[in-house]
């Protein structure tokens, strides 16, 4: 008997003629995630990827954990494979189901026969298998409405599959099927969530971070790096562009009206991100802005920052409130890191009374009093690149 994993497609099962493009990317992503764990055989059939370990020492628990974070998968179903012979299935599935059944009280069997040449019909399979299980596990009772364990038996093209576990996949579409975008990553709670959400829609997400030493500490950078590491299971490899921002912020402090500090700073960040994006081929920017959360995220303020970007700016958490955002942050395990209390570039030189309803023309006028272009050029040139590879912590 052999345990394999059936990785079932999410919404890409519904795709039309371009389905295979998505499938190729999904398979490539799965292979990259599992490669460090050992070698596997992959077979694609009926909107399912069959993942078969090539040796017995592979940690299947870790395989499941990793597959849970691969976008494009609707469900992950560890299964035992048998010959398509009912007697063999009955005899051999009993020891395989021990972990799931020996402590359970109720169960049911669900059968699916996509290979119609198999002599037994689905209800007959259910009956036969149910009987065999009841004989082997006297602790069990059948409950078809609310069973503790559902044993699935699928008679498919390649063989018969029995499983007692179905893990919900990460959903979405495979990372890399939508192009790549650049995320403005401060280190707060919202931006990693924004990265997760856009990766779920198939974007490759890289980060851009603005550093202002000595106003910000090395720990703020480490925090952002940790966030990148924590995002890699979902986003795949992440490149992080670290922009030295101190000189620009000091020039801003010395030359612009205080109430405009935050807005102009965000516009300058947008401009730098646009230059980096154009240079490295990113098709969009992503931010973790949420409507009305702080002064720089009011409608008027967003109008002003948006005007500084030529590229589209995606704000996937714009309509979410803090609770919804933190729930996702906890789920993807970035929350604890995000709340570490280090100064970041956004909290340096915060005005006492920021303008909540800035007018674009006033902002542009204030900004034009100083020529930021040479400083921007210098900052882009001195940007440092870090790379985080998926699964490197293992």
């Amino acid at each position: 008997m052999k345990e394999i994993i059936m990785a079932k497609y999410g919404e890409i099962a519904l795709k039309g003629l371009n389905k295979s493009t998505f499938e190729d990317i999904l398979l490539k992503n799965i292979k990259r995630r599992l490669k460090p764990l050992g070698s596997f055989n992959y077979t694609r059939k009926q909107s399912t990827i069959y993942i078969e370990p090539c040796d017995d020492n592979i940690d299947m628990g870790e395989v499941k954990e990793r597959l849970k974070t691969v976008f494009g998968l609707g469900a992950i179903q560890p299964s035992a494979v048998f010959q398509k012979d009912m007697d063999e299935v009955k005899a051999q599935c009993i020891p395989y189901l021990k972990d799931a059944l020996d402590l359970a009280r109720t169960f049911k069997v669900e059968a699916k026969r996509s290979d119609k040449s198999f002599p037994l019909k689905s209800p007959d399979i259910q009956l036969a298998l149910g009987d065999a299980i009841l004989d082997a596990y006297p602790n069990l009772k059948v409950d078809v409405h609310d069973p503790e364990v559902t044993v699935k038996c699928e008679i498919r093209d390649i063989g018969a599959y029995v499983s007692a576990e179905r893990i919900i996949g990460a959903g979405g579409i495979p990372v890399g099927s939508s192009g790549k975008a650049l995320l403005l990553l401060s280190g707060g709670i919202d931006s990693p969530v924004a990265a997760y959400m856009m990766a779920k829609r198939g974007l490759i997400v890289d980060g851009i971070h603005f550093q202002s030493p000595p106003y910000t500490s090395e720990r703020a950078l480490i925090k952002v790096q940790t966030l990148c590491e924590k995002l890699t299971p979902y986003c795949g490899d992440i490149r992080l562009h670290c922009v030295p921002f101190t000189e620009i912020q000091e020039a801003l402090r010395d030359n612009c009206p205080e109430e405009f500090f935050t807005i102009i700073m965000r516009r300058l960040m947008m401009k730098i991100a646009n230059i980096v994006a154009e240079r490295d081929g990113y098709g969009a920017l992503i931010t973790g802005e949420s409507m009305g959360q702080v002064a720089s995220q009011t409608l008027k303020a967003i109008q002003c920052t948006d005007a500084a970007s030529k590229l589209p700016v995606f704000r996937p958490v714009i309509g979410m409130d803090k609770k919804e955002i933190t729930d996702i942050a906890r789920k993807i395990d970035t929350f604890e890191t995000s709340i570490l209390p280090y100064e970041d570039c956004c909290t340096v030189f915060t005005p006492r009374h920021p303008k909540t309803r800035p007018v674009l023309s006033e902002i542009e006028e204030a900004e034009s009093r100083f020529d930021f272009a040479p400083l921007i050029e210098k900052a882009v040139k001195e940007t440092v690149l870090y790379k985080y590879r998926v699964g490197e912590e293992y």
Partner: protein
């Protein structure tokens, strides 16, 4: 010297000593410091944490403590306080180490309803027996993974599942001091000690699963997320992690030592093996009684020959403990019990020496 008292404590391994010395020399910064020295120490701490969590096969939080006594106190008082509004019942066993047993006494005084179950009442299905006692009012179940005196194993991964099935809100704590690195252990909270696996004394940890709340025992600078204030001892922590990495994952050689000694003892007269056999007994501990010879006499006799064993739990300093009774060991046998505990540093020649000495001792002292 033949040291066969590894359940009491162990000789620090070279890897642990080197790690501690290196940390003291090069990474002595305060983890909380904002500067680079602090960051260096913090990295050491994070690496140690990752290493220990990996060995534990758990993903959650790890708090470093001064040892398992503190870990157990933190777990029990911490959960009892954090969940006091949810219920008042705590379930545990009659075979726990004093750091759990005495804490439970105190909780009992604080009007928690403490239930202690004896393994002797259900030696083969103890997990089911404990889980059956869980009710709606149960906030905490605490059960040691391996008994330190007898070596009895409770299947904590199984018990954990059973408890959660009975009451998903009950928190499950396991004192894994004798089990960590040796057998699979599981729980919402897991207590560990460094000096039982060739690390240093004064160093331990408490694993806490995600989503479990815990009130602190001590208040201070808010280190370790406020759960355990106090500057983190990076030297001890580095040694702990090095000892974990150094501890073998494959323990068949220790099983061989245990089986060999069992074989030798079966050739001697009047020996009762108190440790369970098969899957219920841990390979690192063998407890037996020598009829007609009091423990302490045999212990000192062996000591004269340079062989170090224990008369029971060394923590109790010769005080008769109630734990053997919880396993159905008679008072007479408890009085003549010898606990031999192995480590990867022992060899078969140690067993040869011990067997010879035991034979001589029996000849001389048995009446």
């Amino acid at each position: 010297m033949i040291y066969l008292d590894n359940a009491a404590t162990t000789r620090p391994c070279e890897a642990a000593i080197t790690a501690a010395v290196n940390a003291a020399r090069d990474s002595f910064g305060n983890v909380s410091s904002l500067h680079g020295m602090g960051i260096k120490s913090e990295k050491l701490l994070s690496a140690a944490k990752a290493c220990i969590l990996k060995r534990l096969c758990c993903k959650g939080e790890l708090y470093f403590t001064s040892g398992a006594t503190e870990s157990n106190n933190l777990a029990l008082f911490g959960i009892a306080d954090a969940y006091k509004r949810r219920g008042r019942t705590i379930i545990s066993t009659a075979a726990e180490h004093p750091s759990v047993a005495r804490t439970l006494d105190k909780l009992s005084e604080m009007r928690y309803n403490v239930i202690r179950l004896s393994p002797k009442d259900a030696p083969d299905s103890f997990e089911e027996y404990v889980a059956d006692a869980v009710t709606e009012d149960t906030i905490l179940v605490s059960c040691m993974a391996v008994n330190n005196e007898i070596g009895y194993i409770t299947d904590t991964p199984k018990l954990y599942r059973l408890v959660k099935r009975k009451n998903p809100d009950a928190v499950f704590h396991t004192d894994a001091v004798q089990g960590f690195c040796k057998i699979p252990v599981a729980g919402d909270l897991i207590s560990m000690s460094a000096h039982k696996i060739h690390g240093f004394k004064g160093s331990g940890a408490l694993y806490v699963a995600k989503g479990v709340r815990l009130s602190p025992l001590m208040y201070g600078g808010g280190q370790q997320k406020g759960v355990r204030s106090g500057t983190e001892p990076v030297e001890l922590i580095a040694a702990f992690s090095a000892a974990v990495s150094d501890y073998p994952t494959e323990l068949s050689s220790i099983r061989e030592l245990n089986d060999t000694l069992r074989g030798r003892l079966s050739d001697m007269d009047g020996i009762t093996i108190n440790s369970p056999s098969g899957d219920r007994g841990i390979s690192t501990i063998l407890n037996f009684s020598i009829g007609g010879v009091r423990s302490e006499i045999m212990l000192h006799f062996l000591e004269e020959r340079g062989i170090y064993v224990s008369s029971g739990s060394a923590c109790s300093k010769g005080k008769v403990s109630g734990v053997p009774a919880a396993f159905g060991v008679s008072a007479q046998n408890a009085d003549s019990a010898i606990r031999v505990s192995f480590s990867p540093q022992n060899s078969l020649t140690d067993i040869d020496e011990l067997s010879l000495a035991l034979c001589d001792g029996i000849k001389r002292f048995r009446r």
